[in-house]
Amino acid sequence: MSRVSVVGFAQSDCVRRTPGTTNGVEMLVPTLAEAFKQTGLSKSDIGFWCSGSSDYLAGRAFSFISAVDAIGAFPPINESHVEMDAAWALYEAWVKIRIGEVDTALVYGFGKSSAGTLRRVLSLQTDPYTVAPLWPDSISIAALQARLGLESGRWSEKDMAEVAARSLADARENPQAQRSGESSVADLLDASMTADPLRAHDIAPITDGASVVILAAEDRARDIVSRPAAITGIEHRVDSPVLGARDLTRSPSTETAGAALDVKDIDVAELHAPFTHQELILRDALGLDDAVRISPSGGVLAGNPMFAAGLSRIGEAARRVMSGDADRALAHATSGPALQQNLVAVMEAQS
């Protein structure tokens, strides 16, 4: 079976509110064009297309069908969609290439998070019988998780503020970031609570955006770019949806996904942590020590386009391998409340 490499990555600017439609076409058209320009590929070179988005976010049925306009789907294309972060669409595309059905694939994700009330819409990801009817918003659920760690001594408010300060400082180098800047941990800790025990800096912003990753079978990849980022492993796992039945201060699904991969000697890790304390959980779950550069893009605290942000983590990590800044990179994507479902991929420079 062929290995699969990332050969291209493009993303739209992360913005608080786009004037565009919830089907993402306006964000996707230029982002797709950028990915094609990078790789020298065109629509007819793509063997399989897969997207990630959500109708609940868009407030309309089959919004992903309208999004297909952005790729030009006539004559008919080989296409699929997941109602999840597009990192899981990448997993499907990875399988398609692995089994030899196609040798190239384009994966895209998009979300206009600003169209509705994001934290309220996301409560519908919870159990529909005993939890969702209470409309527990995503920020309140994450705050329950944060307090468990704070009060058990697994992390401190200072640890959390340090994650925010580092992320926003790194984001200054990311022209597509929504938030960036220098801030001291002391100043951050002086801010009042937004959702006790979370402060504004602990919470990823509401972001509209889109991203695109192009994959190729290893033997095609080198014709496309000089230094493809070969995916040496990709795994995803899920934890119980019962929030009150799992240890929220850990992420067993990330631990088992990581354990199934070789996560040693990682230079760079892009982690999908929409709340500061979740980065601390993930670093612990993956055994990433201080030698690993964490989310140099600024991560999702600098811009969190729903249903694209996880795919962007894979793209950002791959970009650093392709540019030669890293030899081995790890990418992580999450979906659902309190890190319920997690995907981990490891990439290295294709030899």
């Binding site: 407030g59 309220r120 209470l134 409309w135 944060a146």
Partner: protein, 330 residues
């Protein structure tokens, strides 16, 4: 693109009552709630799950050993909800908490009515405040109160209770109904905005793909064949042909026209994509493929930025278009 008015947008509310059947485990739990009783289920390791789970999380064995638990419990963690959103149990600032009820081993997520974050802490004892009229729904637990709160404490504002699912007298609860109502700001694309604004002036504006030269009405923003932005505007006449059609004989909720009536694919002269509209002005059985039709506009004072401005299409009486001229649009 030139500077112009921002795209049209409108608030959009969507609503649906989700009716879910429960099965034996959740059915028993909800039946208990309707009788102000909380039942958990015992797992294969002896742990009591509240809310109950249908299958053991470790062994996947179906679970059926129920046990009643207490209506008081302990806060394991909490967070402060300073700005409640619609539907949340309490409609003023309150605390969310994971609460382990006495006799349970897992925790239930619910709201706690305290006035400030200082009034709650991990380890605090809380008790259930039942809804006035339980129906067999998780919201029968209206919220939790500090265990030592006085019984006559005035209640907080709450969200409207869920509707009761139908059931025969004395029957157990086998369904829950949860209304889901979501609000969005719905925005149309810049191309659609120009099209809709033009409709408001009685004009039909399509766009031509720079690559395949096909004319789309409504304009799409990106050509679905080529994926490139459609930029050239084309004004189209309000004359058209029927490519294909159906006769609606079935009544449905919200229907505005008495059946039978004709819904047809209308291909405007000069357009390459048909859209759905009504054909009236003749008997339904007279409508034919290839029939020539013209838009019948509503009175000008009723025009808005919508295709509604065209009430329907009517036959012009011209000879039918030959089949070959529209076969590729079918």
């Amino acid at each position: 693109m030139t500077t112009e008015a921002p795209p049209l947008s409108e608030p959009l509310e969507i609503q649906f009552d989700y009716t879910r059947s429960l099965g034996p485990v959740l059915g028993r739990f909800m039946t208990g709630l309707a009788e102000r009783r909380i039942e958990g289920v015992t797992g294969s390791d002896g742990r009591v799950h509240v809310p109950p789970v249908e299958y053991d999380p470790m062994t996947a064995e179906p679970l059926s050993k129920f046990v009643e638990v207490g209506q008081e419990g302990t806060v394991l963690t909490w967070s402060w909800c300073a700005e409640p959103v619609a539907g949340q149990p309490i409609q003023r600032p309150f605390a969310w908490a994971l609460i382990r009820l006495d006799g349970a081993d897992t925790a239930l997520l619910h709201a706690v009515d305290v006035e400030t974050p200082e009034a709650i802490h991990t380890g605090m004892r809380v008790r259930v405040r039942w809804a006035d009229e339980p129906v067999g729904h998780i919201r029968d637990i209206a919220y939790f109160l500090p265990a030592d709160a006085p019984d006559d404490q005035p209640p907080p504002p709450t969200s409207p209770p869920p509707p009761a699912a139908e059931r025969a007298d004395g029957a157990s609860v086998n369904t829950v109904v949860t209304p889901i109502k979501l609000g969005y700001e719905h925005t149309v694309s810049p191309e659609e905005s120009r099209y809709l604004r033009a409709l408001g002036e009685g004009k039909l504006i399509g766009q031509r793909c720079p690559k395949c030269e096909k004319v789309y009405l409504p304009p799409r923003g990106a050509c679905p064949t080529d994926g490139v932005p459609t930029t050239t505007e084309v004004e189209l006449p309000d004359t058209a042909i029927v490519t294909t059609f159906c006769i609606v004989n079935v009544p449905f909720l919200g229907q505005q026209i008495t059946p039978p009536y004709v819904v047809a694919y209308i291909l405007l002269d000069g357009a390459d994509i048909a859209f759905l509209h009504l054909v009236r002005g003749c008997d339904a059985d007279e409508v034919r493929m290839g029939m020539r039709v013209r838009a019948q506009w509503r009175p000008r004072e009723e025009w808005v930025t919508s295709m509604r401005n065209i009430a329907h299409f009517e036959p012009t009486g011209e000879p039918d278009a030959p089949y070959e001229s529209y076969a590729h649009h079918l």
